[in-house]
């Protein structure tokens, strides 16, 4: 069933999520039973050692990957049951994805990259799309670079353009996989500030995978994924979640 009959207070629900991959001919279970809920307007950091399932959790939420078991409910839609085509449409309308390596189309200008999701969804007229895209670029401080190709701007500017693209169809949920992983500290800070604005001013829900302990520490909720399980969730046990615990994982 693609959608739920009863309204949910959560924007994202993960129920006993499992995921296995075949590596070298052998099955490897990456997620061993993840259950999480996210409310609208949350700003969540997902942390943990490399290879322990953080990005996999995000891929389940975005529908980029399918779980081996369990359920993924996003905005009252059972994402794990949707077809590829339906997922593409659904993502355009409900989700904004921000990748570590920006993933802007190299042959389109920043303005066109930002407007492209609106064209896919079929929202607004062409003129309105460009107008809205320009507004979004203004929000991220890139009006002057609107007509440049991605290859002509810095990494930070590309990432900000990618954020603007993620906001193109005004989705309630933004998912970011290591959005500052490829940026210098100053740029990372500016991107983080942007996220904070989106949460506080536009009530966006942002789920962000990060290795940056400092950034994670500043976020209202931190979830640690370790060995395919939720090792810690600051919302459940905020007193347990002390900065010192993150130091060993950062070293790892």
């Amino acid at each position: 069933m693609a959608s739920l009959s009863q309204p949910s207070q959560y924007i994202v629900e993960l129920k006993d999520l499992t995921k296995s991959f075949i590596v070298g001919g052998q099955p490897v279970q990456i997620l061993k039973g993840i259950s999480l809920q996210f409310e609208p307007g949350e700003f969540v950091a997902i942390t943990g050692p490399s290879g322990n399932g953080k990005s996999t959790v995000l891929n389940m939420i975005t529908g980029i990957d399918r779980p081996s078991g369990g359920e993924v409910i996003v905005n009252e839609r059972a994402v794990h049951t949707m077809s590829e085509n339906s997922l593409a449409v659904w993502r355009g309308e409900n989700l904004g994805i921000i990748f570590q390596f920006y993933q802007l189309l190299p042959s389109l200008s920043l303005l066109q990259n930002v407007a492209l999701p609106m064209e896919f969804v079929g929202r607004f007229s062409h003129r309105q799309r460009l107008q809205r895209a320009m507004e979004l670029l203004e929000i991220v401080g890139l009006v002057d670079q609107a007509y440049k190709l991605p290859g002509m701007v810095s990494g930070g500017q590309q990432q900000r353009a990618a954020i603007a693209r993620a906001l193109a169809n005004d989705p309630p949920l933004l998912v970011a996989d290591e959005p500052t992983g490829n940026l210098d500290a100053e740029t990372a800070e500016s991107v983080f500030g942007l996220f904070q604005c989106l949460v506080t001013e536009q009530n966006k829900t942002i789920l962000m995978v990060t290795h940056d302990a400092d950034l994670a520490q500043r976020m209202p909720r931190i979830i640690e994924i370790r060995n395919g399980l939720v090792a810690c969730d600051s919302i459940v046990a905020p007193e347990i979640f002390v900065p010192a615990r993150l130091i060993p994982s950062k070293i790892q």
């Binding site: 189309l105 042959s107 896919f120």
Partner: protein, 827 residues
């Protein structure tokens, strides 16, 4: 989808070399088809329209003996005959005033050029022929160096007369001037009679009130009955297959053209198929390159049809660009082909026009073929999940069987392992490029093989069969021994042999009466023992007799396909040519009846079947037996002479000297021999005829195919380099110099090229064999012997190596110019 359009535009413009390659590959196939289809349609239309303008006859016959006016006029009273025209046709010797060398020419006349009825001849410039002036055929100036306004000398009956060429004439319909090998002059009737000694019509043209094949054939039969009553023999004359009855709606030459263009058309289709493979490869590579972009688009909401739309638009844009290139070039090619045939056949050059059918097909090829080719890789790309499509940082790719095998190798240099593994990394792409290169190689080597076979058949083989240097024919029968002895007067003559050549009608022995449908061919009587004549004939005492006459085998050595050649002691044995045997269904052991012009029928047994590229339909019998059968004991009319020198100039001067010798003895030497030319040099150079034309056309297609193969290889290697730009960066960051990287990629290209050559070579041999012995032989109604020569294979090996080196060097070189950092972040 306006923003997607921007992506399409950028994809086209930002990689101009790739765009050019894909467009060129599509365009080449379209040009090939446009050239062949357009050329065929334009030429056929030109043929037919000008053929109709000539008011062609329904029946065209050569008659022996020639008809006088009364006999010709009597034809008009035959049922089914509406128009009759007699033509006087013969040969003459001529030379331009001031020249020393005499040449042969055809001489034609009409009763009244101003009142022609059929197969019209038009006056282009100047005046109609009269007592003092001859007309000359248009294009004689280009081909033979003689034109209106020139003065020529004509030699006939020991007299030399001068004529001014007072007019330029041209048959209104198609006329194969080039294939004649000699110019055509036109004379009024009285001049013709003075020059040839004949005032009668040896060609008869008849047209009925309306065209219908059955009616024309019925009329022909009535004409044959009349000819039988007046003891006249007739043969069909219509080009190219000597038909008696020919439709006035469609020029007979068009059938021949259709066969030629069919062969070219098949090659054109192969070029299109190659183009489809290459477009498939190119689009696959583009999809592979942009797979992460496809993944991102799907991640941000693109539906499959939206992604498909963008790439389909890209492919259609390639097609549109190819249309813009290929239609004018195809039209130009078709026009050039049309011009070539117009010149060959002395037609009027029609105004330029595009052939609508050819243009339509070209447009279809440019749009439909690439779209079909692109569908598979497009759909495959769409099926990949977003997760797989979004590239991670670092080198991607899986290992294949080749990699797993080569991982075990210890003593082979790693760079060689890497080169071989890289070359075969993408099996599907390798398959298609190899298929393209193999097909290109097969066609290219096949064309060269056909060329070698043609040269072999009409030069080496012909010379091995016709082992003489000079041949003369005589208007009257002469004493055979005298002919041979007089040849001794030429110090350059080494040996001579006299034959008797007669036009004959042949039928199965079981058929009691002769019929108009009997086979008509030449029968050659040749010595089968060491004595040239069976009776002692007084010879000229001033010329010492040749002590021995060489066996005929020294002069003529045809290939025996079945049975045997003639031997000493044969009296009623006959050997026939393969074409005659196939046409009539005659076999070794059959008995046939030959009817000479004196109506004496003799029966012969077929003991052998031969092949000779020069002699198409003929029979060979013992000289003495033929002399007896024709009542011409000791007589001959054909002479073959072997000279001491084989230098062409020496042979030519021997030929002239011999003619002078015989004429000095009162013998009437015919202007041309039974093989049309007097020296083996001229025979060889003129006999290939239509083959040289078609080989030129095949060569054009071979060049196009070679370009397609080269462009395809270049495209694939360019894409390989582009895809592995990150890999190049990694190699360079761990110590590989630029030259090492260059060698790696160039080696890959050469490996692919050589592999295709190895596969193509054994395939090209049967292809050349079939094209030579079946395709072209059937199309041109000739016999061609397949002959393998390594030059075609070596030429293609050289070409493909060069193409591979160039194709890989340029993109690899540009890749090494990018910095390591940029290489590693390339996506």
């Amino acid at each position: 989808m306006i923003i997607l359009l921007s992506k399409v535009w950028h994809d086209l413009w930002s990689n101009k070399s790739r765009t050019m390659q894909v467009v060129l590959v599509i365009a080449l196939g379209s040009i090939g088809i446009g050239l062949v289809m357009g050329g065929n349609n334009l030429i056929a239309n030109t043929f037919n329209s000008q053929w109709k303008l000539a008011n062609p006859p329904h029946i065209k016959l050569g008659v022996t003996p020639a008809l006088d006016d009364d006999q010709l006029n009597a034809l008009k009273r035959i049922e089914g005959v509406d128009q009759v025209q007699g033509v006087l046709s013969g040969s003459m010797e001529w030379r331009k005033l001031g020249d020393t060398k005499w040449q042969n020419a055809r001489l034609e006349s009409r009763p009244d050029f101003r009142a022609q009825k059929l197969e019209l001849i038009g006056l282009i410039t100047g005046q109609w022929p009269d007592r003092s002036g001859l007309g000359v055929i248009r294009s004689a100036d280009e081909l033979y160096g003689v034109a209106e306004g020139d003065t020529i000398e004509v030699r006939s009956n020991e007299q030399v007369r001068r004529f001014i060429l007072s007019g330029t004439l041209k048959p209104v319909g198609p006329f194969p001037v080039v294939f004649l090998g000699q110019p055509v002059f036109y004379a009024d009737r009285s001049t013709f009679a003075r020059l040839t000694g004949r005032d009668t019509f040896n060609i008869v043209e008849v047209r009925g009130p309306q065209w219908s094949r059955s009616a024309a054939e019925a009329t022909d039969l009535r004409i044959q009955d009349y000819f039988k009553d007046i003891s006249v023999d007739s043969v069909g004359l219509e080009f190219p297959f000597q038909a008696r009855v020919v439709s006035p709606e469609v020029s007979p030459g068009v059938e021949l053209l259709s066969a030629i263009f069919l062969i070219l058309g098949i090659i054109g289709v192969i070029i299109i198929i190659l183009g489809i493979f290459l477009v498939y490869n190119s689009i696959s590579a583009i999809i592979t390159q942009q797979i992460s972009q496809i993944g991102v688009m799907k991640a941000i909401g693109a539906r499959p049809w939206q992604v498909l739309y963008g790439y389909a638009l890209l492919v259609l844009t390639y097609g549109g660009l190819a249309v813009m290139v290929s239609i004018p070039l195809g039209a130009l090619g078709a026009r050039s082909l049309q011009g070539l045939f117009v010149n060959l056949l002395n037609l009027d050059n029609p105004p330029f026009r595009l052939d609508p059918l050819a243009v339509s097909v070209q447009i279809g090829v440019c749009f439909v073929a690439p779209l079909l080719a692109a569908m598979l890789p497009l759909l495959a790309g769409l099926r990949i999940s977003v997760r797989e499509a979004i590239a991670t940082y670092g080198l991607t790719g899986s290992s294949g069987l080749m990699d797993r095998l080569s991982a075990r190798l210890r003593k082979v240099p790693f760079s060689l392992i890497l080169m071989v593994g890289n070359a075969f990394r993408n099996p599907r792409r390798v398959f298609f490029i190899e298929l393209t290169l193999v097909l290109s190689g097969v066609i290219f080597m096949m064309v060269l093989g056909v060329n070698d076979s043609t040269s072999f058949t009409f030069d080496r083989k012909l010379r091995s069969i016709h082992n003489y240097q000079v041949t003369l024919s005589f208007e009257n029968l002469e004493l055979a021994q005298r002919l041979e002895n007089l040849a001794r007067s030429d110090p350059g003559a080494r040996a001579a042999q006299a034959w008797l050549a007669l036009p004959i009608q042949g039928r199965p022995a079981a058929q009691k009466e002769a019929a108009v449908t009997d086979a008509r061919f030449t029968v050659f009587g040749l010595p089968t023992d060491t004595i040239s004549s069976t009776t002692a004939i007084p010879v000229d005492a001033t010329i010492p007799a040749l002590t021995t006459s060489p066996a005929s085998g020294d002069f003529y050595q045809p290939d025996i396909i079945e049975g045997r050649w003639l031997i000493a002691g044969d009296s009623s044995a006959a050997v026939i040519t393969r074409r005659l045997a196939n046409a009539r269904g005659w076999q070794v052991g059959d008995r046939i009846t030959l009817s000479a012009s004196n109506d004496r029928d003799t029966t012969w047994e077929i003991v052998g079947i031969t092949f000779d590229p020069l002699v198409q339909s003929a029979a060979f019998v013992p000289l003495a037996a033929l002399q007896r059968a024709s009542g011409e004991a000791g007589r001959a009319n054909t002479l073959f002479v072997q000279t001491s020198s084989v230098d062409p100039a020496a042979i030519q001067s021997n030929s002239e000297l011999l003619k002078t010798i015989y004429k000095g003895r009162g013998m009437d030497v015919a202007p041309s021999s039974v093989f049309r030319y007097n020296t083996i040099t001229e025979i060889v150079s003129n006999t290939a005829g239509g083959f040289s034309l078609i080989i030129q056309l095949l060569a054009i297609m071979a060049v196009i195919i070679a370009v397609v193969g080269g462009v395809g290889l270049s495209g694939v290697l360019s894409l390989n380099v582009l895809e592995r730009t990150r890999e190049i960066g990694v190699l360079r960051s761990i110590g590989a110099s630029n030259s090492r990287v260059l060698r790696l990629f160039m080696g890959e290209g050469v490996l692919l090229g050589w592999l295709s050559w190895l596969v193509a070579l054994p395939l090209s041999i049967p292809a050349a064999y079939l094209m030579s012995t079946v395709g072209l032989s059937a199309a041109l109604n000739q016999n061609l012997i397949y002959h393998f020569s390594p030059y075609g294979a070596l030429a293609w090996l050289f070409i493909i190596t060069l193409l591979a080196l160039i194709a890989s060097a340029l993109p690899a070189r540009s890749a090494t110019r990018v910095s390591v950092r940029e290489s590693l972040i390339y996506q």
